[in-house]
C-alpha cells in the first residue's frame, strides 16, 4: 500500500467518525459503557483476589503440646518445626497466652473462665505456625504430626489448622473468581456485540457510498480499510475515555477509603498495580473489539 493511500484511509476513517456525528457518539458511548462495567468487575476481581489471598495467608496451624512438656523439649520441637520447608514462622504460645486468647474469644461469656488463673490453667502450651503457601498448609500439618514418630515422649498432643475453614475459604474464593470470570466474559461478548452492531449500522448508513466505490473501481481491500480504521479508532477512543474515567475514579476510591479499610486490616490494590492490567486490558480489548466488529460487518456487507 502506498503511503498516500494509507494516510488516506486514516484520514477517511477519522473524518467519517466526525462526520457521522451522533452515530459515532453512540458507538463510542456503548463501547464505553460496556468496558466500564467490565473494568469495574476487573477491579472488583483484583481486589477480591487480593482479599482472598490475605485471608488465606492468615490461615495458621496451631500445635498443642502435652501438659508439662519441659522447656528444652519445647525449644527442640520449635527448632524441628522450623526445619520443615513449608513453614514460614513459628511462634510459641504459652498456656498463659492461650487462656487470654480464650477469654477474648468468649467475649461477654468470658465470665465462665473466672477462677482459672496461672496456677490452675488447664490449657496446654503450643505454637502458632505460619506457612509460605496457604495451599500447603495440610502438608505442613502432617509433617508436624509426624515429628511425634521420632519422639519417644510423643509431646505433640494435637495439631489443628481448621481444615474445614480453610477448605471452605478456598471454595468461596474460587467461586468468586469463577463468577467474576463468567461475568467479565459475558460482558466482553455483550460489548463486542454492541460495537459490531453499531459498526454494521454505520456501514448500513453508507451502503450508497460503498456501492458507488465499487462502481468506480475500488478494490474490496480499499473499501474495507477506512472501516477498519474507523472501528479501531472508535474502540480506541471509547476505551481510552473509559480507562481514564475508571482509573481516576479508582484513585479517588482508594484515597477516600484508605482510613476505613485500613481499620479492617485490608488495603485496596494500589493504583500502580491496577493501572496496566486494567487500563491495558480495556484499551486493548476496546481496540480489538472495534477492529473485529468492523471486520465482521464489512465482510458481511461486501458479500451481499
Amino acid at each position: 500500500m502506498r503511503f498516500s493511500t494509507f494516510s488516506r484511509h486514516i484520514r477517511e476513517g477519522t473524518k467519517s467518525i466526525i462526520r457521522n456525528g451522533w452515530m459515532s457518539f453512540a458507538s463510542i458511548s456503548s463501547i464505553a459503557v460496556s468496558l466500564f462495567i467490565l473494568g469495574v468487575f476487573m477491579l472488583l476481581t483484583l481486589n477480591v483476589n487480593r482479599f482472598a489471598d490475605q485471608v488465606e495467608s492468615q490461615a495458621q496451624i496451631r500445635v498443642f503440646l502435652e501438659l508439662d512438656t519441659p522447656e528444652e523439649k519445647i525449644a527442640g520441637i520449635e527448632r524441628q518445626i522450623k526445619l520443615i520447608p513449608e513453614v514460614k514462622s513459628v511462634v510459641f504460645v504459652s498456656k498463659h497466652d492461650a487462656l487470654e486468647r480464650l477469654r477474648e474469644t468468649l467475649g461477654e461469656n468470658a465470665d465462665v473462665l473466672d477462677g482459672y488463673e496461672a496456677e490452675n490453667n488447664p490449657l496446654p502450651d503450643g505454637f502458632d505456625v505460619d506457612v509460605f503457601e496457604p495451599r500447603q498448609i495440610s502438608i505442613a500439618a502432617e509433617k508436624i504430626k509426624a515429628l511425634n514418630d521420632t519422639d519417644p515422649d510423643r509431646s505433640i498432643m494435637r495439631v489443628r489448622y481448621g481444615e474445614e475453614t480453610v477448605k471452605q475459604l478456598f471454595r468461596i474464593t474460587n467461586g468468586i473468581r469463577n463468577i467474576g470470570l463468567v461475568i467479565v466474559l459475558g460482558l466482553a461478548v455483550t460489548a463486542m456485540f454492541l460495537i459490531s452492531t453499531s459498526i454494521r449500522m454505520t456501514i448500513y448508513a453508507r451502503r450508497r457510498e460503498i456501492a458507488i466505490m465499487k462502481l468506480v473501481g475500488a478494490t474490496n481491500g480499499f473499501i474495507r480499510w477506512p472501516f477498519f480504521v474507523e472501528g479501531a479508532l472508535t474502540g480506541l477512543i471509547g476505551s481510552l475515555i473509559t480507562a481514564a474515567g475508571l482509573l481516576a475514579g479508582y484513585a479517588q476510591v482508594i484515597r477516600s477509603t484508605r482510613l476505613d479499610l485500613g481499620l479492617m486490616m485490608f488495603d485496596l490494590v494500589p493504583l500502580e498495580e491496577a493501572f496496566w492490567p486494567v487500563g491495558g486490558t480495556i484499551v486493548g480489548l476496546g481496540t480489538l473489539i472495534g477492529i473485529f466488529g468492523s471486520i465482521l460487518s464489512v465482510r458481511k456487507y461486501l458479500r451481499v
Partner: protein
C-alpha cells in the same frame, strides 16, 4: 472493444430486459443507444460495467471476458470505464470536488495528480465555482455535470453515459456533447443512452435502437427513432 454475443437478460422477477443482443463496438466509436422508456437501454449499459450479469451469452469489454471475470478482478475492469448514471449517484455528504476526487482516490492515484485533474474536470463541465457545494446545494443540472466530471476524471478507455443531458437545458446539453465529442476524438469510446432526438439527429453518429429488449436498428450515421 465492446462485444455482445447472443446476450439475454431476464431479471429475477421475470422481466425480459434484453433478448438475443449481438453488438460489436470498436475502439474510438461514438454510439447512441435510443429506445422508449423501459426498452432495456440502461440494462445494456449495466451489462457493460458488470453491475448486472447476462442470463445467457458472452460479453467482452476492453479485453476482459466478463463471463470468466473473477469477482476480485471486477474493480480493474471498471477502472477502464467511466460511468454517468441516470440518477447521478453522487455522495450527499461530499462536496462536488470531493465527489470527483473520490473516483481517483479509489484507484489510488497520487494526491497531487488528484488535485490537478479534479479541478480540470470541474472546469471542463463549468462547475469550478461550485467545487465546494454539496449535492443538495446544487441544481439538478449542476449535479448531472458533477457526475460527468467524475466519469471523465480517470481518463477511461470507455465512457458509458446513461441520459447525461436529461436534466440540462439545450445550451448546456450542447456544451456537454461537445465535451464528449472532444473526449471521443482523443481516443475514448463513448456509449450514450439518450431520449434527446435533436442531439442524435444533429450529431450523426452510430445509433443503436432498442425496443422491448430487441435491437431493432443499428445504423452508422443514424437518426433518432426506434421503429423497425
Amino acid at each position: 472493444m465492446i462485444e455482445f454475443h447472443g446476450v439475454w437478460k431476464t431479471y429475477p422477477d421475470g422481466t425480459v430486459a434484453l433478448q438475443s443482443v449481438n453488438v460489436l463496438i470498436e475502439r474510438n466509436e461514438f454510439v447512441f443507444i435510443v429506445g422508449p422508456s423501459g426498452a432495456g437501454k440502461s440494462t445494456f449499459m449495466k451489462l457493460i460495467y458488470r453491475e448486472e450479469v447476462p442470463t445467457k451469452g458472452q460479453i467482452s469489454v476492453n479485453g476482459f471476458n466478463l463471463g470468466k471475470l473473477k469477482p476480485r478482478k471486477i474493480p480493474y475492469l471498471r477502472r477502464n470505464i467511466g460511468v454517468i448514471f441516470q440518477d447521478f449517484r453522487l455522495l450527499p455528504k461530499l462536496t462536488a470536488y470531493e465527489n470527483v476526487a473520490f473516483a481517483m482516490e479509489v484507484v489510488e492515484a497520487p494526491r497531487r495528480l488528484i488535485k490537478k485533474r479534479t479541478m480540470e474536470a470541474l472546469e471542463l463541465v463549468g462547475l469550478k465555482n461550485k467545487a465546494n457545494s454539496l449535492p443538495s446545494q446544487l441544481s439538478g443540472g449542476e449535479q448531472q455535470r458533477v457526475a460527468i466530471a467524475r466519469a471523465i476524471v480517470n481518463n477511461p478507455a470507455v465512457i458509458v453515459a446513461d441520459e447525461p443531458t436529461g436534466n440540462l437545458d439545450p445550451e448546456t446539453s450542447w456544451e456537454i456533447m461537445k465535451l464528449l465529442e472532444e473526449i471521443n476524438y482523443r481516443g475514448t469510446t463513448i456509449v450514450m443512452a439518450t431520449h434527446n432526438s435533436a442531439i442524435v439527429n444533429a450529431m450523426r453518429k452510430r445509433v443503436i435502437a432498442i425496443d422491448k429488449g430487441v435491437i431493432v436498428r443499428d445504423e452508422p450515421r443514424g437518426e433518432y427513432g426506434y421503429e423497425i
